[in-house]
């Protein structure tokens, strides 16, 4: 077994707010192997973006630890950018509107004093399928797909072994989304970098990931191989997510409905965190927080898993 690129051990991150603290990441553990793609799916407010920020060292942990290539994240962040790249959801917001494309892509190289950045800029632009003449353009002169390609090129400039993608296609139209998804897959084949792919879109996730983690209120309620989880989910929340998603296979059928919404994150929940919406909940779920059950490389937190 190769050394994992990323090790997350019981990570916890909380935001102090009036009236208490929001435990956005509440005991998350996983490994990511080189060249592997793990998708993290969950609804808004489940803590997936906080997790990404913690891995980037942008959000301090209140407990547990995160190791990138064996080195803990935190304190001195110099050098972390060489190990972790990031692509955000909205390339409009993540690119400086006053900088030309070439400068944006060269910036990480300049900061890390990699000499002769010009060659590398050309190289990554070619790798992401951007024409060289776009180097002198500003972000507003590009299409949405091109802007997201620039963001990917910048993330790859330092050739990091790990790339975080936070909803990289959510702001894109369907035909453009397909271009970016294909690109990410090709880049991984060529460069062998690992992806942590954060998304709320299950169909996209199934296309791109090897493993998937389903996050609910700060915790991975289920994690496992992509096909196993999609075809045979064990956690009732995973089941509900899959049933809610309208797909062409369900043409003309309304999606199944999971009642309720994510509870107020300020509320301290006794027992299982999913119990307020769970169709399978029993008395035990109200008091006992389910421990992780491991089963054929799969892990889930549920007293009464879906058969």
């Amino acid at each position: 077994m190769p050394t994992p690129i990323l090790e997350v051990r019981d990570a916890q991150a909380a935001y102090k707010v009036p009236g208490g603290a929001i435990r956005a990441v509440d005991g998350v553990s996983f490994d990511l192997a080189p060249g592997e793609t793990l998708a993290v799916v969950g609804e808004s407010g489940c803590g997936k973006t906080t997790l990404a920020k913690a891995i980037l060292g942008l959000e301090p942990l209140t407990g547990g630890e995160i190791l990138v290539q064996g080195k803990p994240v935190g304190g001195d962040l110099s050098g972390l950018a060489e190990r972790v790249g990031i692509v955000w959801q909205d390339p409009y917001a993540s690119l400086d509107p006053r900088w030309r494309v070439g400068r944006s892509i060269a910036e990480p190289l300049r900061l890390h004093r990699r000499g002769d950045s010009g060659d590398r800029v050309d190289e990554v632009m070619k790798a992401v399928g951007l024409e060289m003449e776009l180097k002198g353009r500003f972000p507003h002169q590009l299409s949405g797909g091109q802007r997201q390609r620039v963001a990917v090129a910048r993330a790859l400039a330092l050739n990091p072994p790990l790339l975080l993608c936070d909803e990289p296609t959510a702001a894109l139209d369907l035909s453009i989304r397909a271009q970016i998804l294909n690109l990410l897959k090709d880049l991984q084949d060529d460069l062998g970098c690992a992806y942590l792919y954060i998304s709320h879109d299950l169909t996209t996730v199934r296309f791109i990931a090897d493993r998937v983690a389903v996050m609910y209120l700060g915790r991975f309620v289920e994690i496992g191989g992509i096909e196993e989880v999609f075809t045979d989910p064990r956690h009732p929340y995973t089941r509900a997510l899959l049933d809610s998603a309208p797909t062409l296979a369900k043409l003309g059928r309304l999606p199944d409905v999971l009642p309720g919404e994510i509870p107020d994150p300020l509320e301290v929940i006794s027992g299982c965190r999913f119990r307020s919406r769970c169709p399978r909940g029993q008395e035990r779920c109200d008091t006992v927080d389910p421990e992780a059950t491991a089963e054929n490389g799969r892990r889930f937190h549920c007293h009464f898993p879906v058969a």
Binding site: E43, S44, S143, R206, L248, L251, V257
Partner: protein, 430 residues
């Protein structure tokens, strides 16, 4: 009568047309899904119907009928009366479309007292009932809350409650679930469907998400560059799309494939659109005809053997009760047959079905062929075999004996609809 009928609607900003002749209709209780990418004009359609085009935009052509009322001919005052009562709209973002300064109960009640002339007290009571109908928890206390005190799902439910408050004939839902998570999206879609069925509303559902459109629509219109490029029943459009753009969109959906089909390039700039098909620059199938933009076309019914034969001066004849002497049969113009003294089998109008024996009369047959410019078919034992032979000879699909029911409503703005395989002909031919 359709609840809403749009005929050749055009919307322009200055000299640039962004809606270029759209015709649609929705029946009561029916859901028409409009799907397309950003900037294709799908939202403009909804806003034009509501009379709420953004500044600078104007309807530059076409007509919109709500029942038999011509909306574009109405003065603003009359239109305002219809808005919110007979036509209602649900927007993508409830945060921006609800008044942040007003309690939600009052916002619903406002519409009721305005359009239905209810007293304040009655309107408030109805507002609470309305909130109950959209299944928000504790509707009474919910009515007293401000929008920011509600969760995203609750806000969208309030929007739905407002939209259905006056029992609209037509509801325009523009990306009603796009800002929502997948479990909330499912809740809202189911709620919309329930209220639609209760009230018999015609729904125009606008979304970029083909999955959403497919799960609730009866019919679908696919938009591209300000036009409808494909239209038909949801099943026909999604299962057997005819326009290359629709095919591309469906291929771009992650499924079981290793690679996604991506449509190269990007949508055209409205200002530079010419006479050619607006999708042609991105289309893998383009051929000569694409230099003219096609309107919505229905697939040409496959030609029957009889039609094909007629074009070549042959007739198909019913041979069921005919004993065919010899072993070659030809369908010849009468004159040619007589001239070559072939054995007549049957005379139909001016076409003679003749038979001759092979190979002795091969020369005669050849002579007949040359003389009449017609073909001679070998004798077949049965009618189906002759049919196959004739069709094979003239190319195309074998005609089906019992005419297949055709979805005449399924149309596509693409020349390929009437000339299947035209763009790919080079690769298909040997």
């Amino acid at each position: 009568m359709p609840a809403l009928e749009i005929i050749d609607l055009r919307v322009a900003f200055g000299p640039v047309e962004v809606l270029r002749g759209v015709s649609l209709s929705v029946e009561p209780r029916e859901t028409l899904g409009i799907v397309g990418e950003s900037g294709c004009g799908k939202s403009m359609t909804g806003l034009a119907v509501m009379g709420l085009l953004p500044p600078g935009g104007r309807v530059s052509g076409g007509r919109i009928f709500l029942g038999d009322t011509d909306l574009l001919a109405l003065p603003e005052r009359k239109l305002r009366e219809l808005r919110g009562s007979d036509i209602a709209m649900v927007f993508q973002d409830p945060f921006t479309s609800l008044n942040p300064m007003m309690r939600v109960g009052r916002q619903i009640a406002e519409a009721l007292s305005l359009h239905q002339g209810l007293s304040r007290r009655k309107a408030r009571r109805r507002a609470v009932e309305q909130l109950e109908a959209v299944k928000v928890p504790a509707p009474k206390s919910m009515a007293r809350k401000f929008p920011h005190q509600l969760s995203g799902g609750q806000r969208q439910r309030v929007m739905v409650a407002m939209a259905f408050a006056c029992h609209p004939k037509v509801l325009i839902a523009d990306e009603p679930t796009t800002a929502l998570d997948v479990t909330l999206q499912a809740q809202i879609l189911v709620l919309l469907k329930e209220l639609q069925e209760q009230q018999g509303t015609a729904v125009l559902l606008i979304s970029h998400d083909i999955g959403v459109i497919g799960s609730v629509s009866d019919r679908i219109a696919v938009y591209y560059a300000g036009r409808v490029v494909e239209h038909g029943s949801a099943e026909a459009v999604l299962k057997t799309p005819v326009h290359p753009y629709t095919q591309g969109l469906l291929g771009a959906l992650p499924g079981d494939t290793e690679r996604l089909v991506s449509i190269p390039g990007r949508p055209p700039d409205f200002a530079t659109l010419g006479a050619e098909c607006s999708f042609a620059p991105r289309c893998a199938h383009r051929f000569e005809k694409c230099s003219i933009e096609p309107s919505l076309l229905a697939p040409a019914k496959p030609k029957t053997a009889e039609q094909r034969a007629l074009e070549h001066d042959f007739r198909f004849v019913d041979l069921d009760n005919t004993e065919i002497p010899g072993n070659v049969i030809a369908l010849l113009p009468e004159k040619a047959a007589r001239k070559h003294e072939l054995v007549p089998v049957k005379l139909l109008q001016n076409v003679l079905v003749v038979a001759m024996s092979e190979p002795a009369d091969k020369k005669a047959a050849n002579a007949a062929r040359t003389a009449a410019g017609c073909r001679i078919l070998p004798v077949m034992a049965d009618r189906a075999a002759i049919l196959r032979a004739i069709t094979k000879h003239y190319g195309g699909e074998p005609p089906v004996q019992a005419e297949e029911p055709q979805d005449t409503e399924h149309t596509g703005a693409c020349w390929l609809v009437q000339e299947p395989g035209a763009g790919a002909r080079e690769t298909m031919d040997d």
